[in-house]
Each structure stands twice: as structure tokens, then as C-alpha cells.
Symmetry: C2
Subunit: 151 residues, 2 copies
């Protein structure tokens, strides 16, 4: 549980004049907990329902939008049809995802490898590159070994 994130987010909200409701608190707590990575609105809602039944899915959507605007969360996409959210920057900073096609296991990795590509592309294209989105898919070690056993 990252207490700092929670306090930082709280302060950010207050400074901007937004109110702290139980619903917003629940969403914040969820995203500041360790297990909460790249969650969809529906997943967040499901996770919250247990502790706070009085939180509508629409409110979760609005919280996610607000927190993203304020800079507390980042909206990320896995190209699976769902908008997903993570703590902005987060413990591991900017990163990308490597998703297992079998079990959905996600590995995160930093972007240091992308920077050099961006510089090359800027020279080639004349673009000023502002951001990038990289997702890799494959089979994780466990699923690969399990598949091989089946042969």
C-alpha cells in the first residue's frame, strides 16, 4: 500500500477544489494498493463493490476521468477494447507491457530501449516525437513450458 501516492493524490484534489467523497476515496485507495495495475473501469468497480457497495459504475468512470485530468492516473490501452488506468508515473515510472496471450500475465518494462529508436526516427521523419505506445504479446515462460509438455 503506497501511502505517499494516496496522500499526494488527496492533496492534489483538495488544492484544485475537488471534494473527497467516499466513492473517490475508495477508487484512490484501490489504485494506491499494490495489486492495482492497468485496471478497467469495470474491474475497478468490481474490486470496490466488496468494500463499498454504494459506488456506481458511472461514478467510477467519472472518478477515473477526473483523476486522469488531475494527473493522478494515466489512461493506458491494451488494444482489447477497454480503457485501462494506472497510477501516474507510479513506482516504476513510465513503462510498457508485455502480455501473455495464454494466461494474461503482464510484465512491465522500462522505455530506455525506445528512446534511441525515437531519436533515429526523428532524424528520418522530421517529426518531433512526443510520446509512444508499445505493447508486446507472446507466451510467458510458464505457459510455454506447459504447452511443450502437452506435446
Amino acid at each position: 500500500m503506497k501511502a505517499d501516492c494516496f496522500d499526494d493524490a488527496l492533496r492534489e484534489l483538495r488544492e484544485r477544489g475537488f471534494k473527497l467523497t467516499p466513492q473517490r476515496r475508495a477508487v484512490l485507495e484501490l489504485f494506491c494498493s499494490d495489486g492495482a495495475r492497468h485496471l478497467t473501469a469495470q474491474q475497478a468497480h468490481d474490486a470496490i463493490r466488496g468494500r463499498e457497495p454504494n459506488v456506481g459504475l458511472v461514478t467510477v468512470y467519472r472518478c477515473l476521468e477526473l483523476f486522469t485530468n488531475v494527473g493522478i492516473l494515466d489512461k493506458i490501452k491494451f488494444n482489447d477494447g477497454f480503457d485501462r488506468y494506472e497510477l501516474h508515473g507510479g513506482a516504476s515510472g513510465h513503462h510498457h507491457h508485455l502480455v501473455c496471450t495464454e494466461c494474461g500475465h503482464v510484465v512491465e518494462f522500462g522505455d530506455c530501449l525506445i528512446r534511441s529508436i525515437e531519436r533515429k526516427l526523428e532524424k528520418m521523419s522530421g517529426f518531433c516525437i512526443e510520446g509512444h505506445w508499445l505493447e508486446l504479446i507472446g507466451q510467458c515462460r510458464e505457459c510455454r513450458e506447459r504447452t511443450e509438455e502437452d506435446d
Copy 2:
């Protein structure tokens, strides 16, 4: 106009026992024409309507799905909420997109730069990487120069 693509696609369809309807022909011709890159279903429909008014949007969706299953088209995403399609492989082979945030101008580039990253990541993570999705956004040269003039 890439006549080879069109003929290849036609043969592929016939071999698999699918019928060639005027609607499918129109979609195929569109994607085999030079200007047709990363089109949405709606864009394809609009482009076809002029020549073939009797093509419903639903049919375009079904053509795109069929052609993707058969391997004629690839489904790609710009994370803008629309599914987009291109000729599979295409003249330039596997590639990625660099999209201008100002004017929407798209530059394509090959993936040779990604392969080395994939190999490093496979060693790090134990994954067997099967595919990747990379999109870069930024400002193209023209938009950057126009912005600077405004200062």
C-alpha cells in the same frame, strides 16, 4: 493500383470457397488501390459508396472481418477508438505508424529497430514474443514549423 494484390486476394477467396460479390469486389479494389491505408470501416464505406451505392456499412464490416480471417487484410489500431485495416504485409511489409497530433499525417516505418528490443526482452522476461504493437505520436515537420511561426 496493385493488381497483384487484387488477384492474389481473389484466388485466396475462391480457394476457400467464398463467393465474389460486387460488394466484396469493391472493398478489395479499394484496399488494393494506392491511397488506401489504415482505413476504418466507415471510411471504407464512404469511399465505396460513390462507385457502388448498394453496399451497406454492415457488409463492409463483414468483408473486413472475412478478409482479415483469410489473411488478406490486417486489423490495426491507432488507439483512437476505431478499428482500422490495411492490406496484409502490403508493399512495405510489417511496419508501424508515426501519427502527427496536429494534422493526422501518418508516416510508416519498418520494424527492424524493434527486433533487437524483442530479443533483449525475451532473455529478460522468459517470454516468447509473438508480436508487438508500436505507435508513436508527435508533430510532423510542417506542423512544427507552422507552430513556431506563430510565436
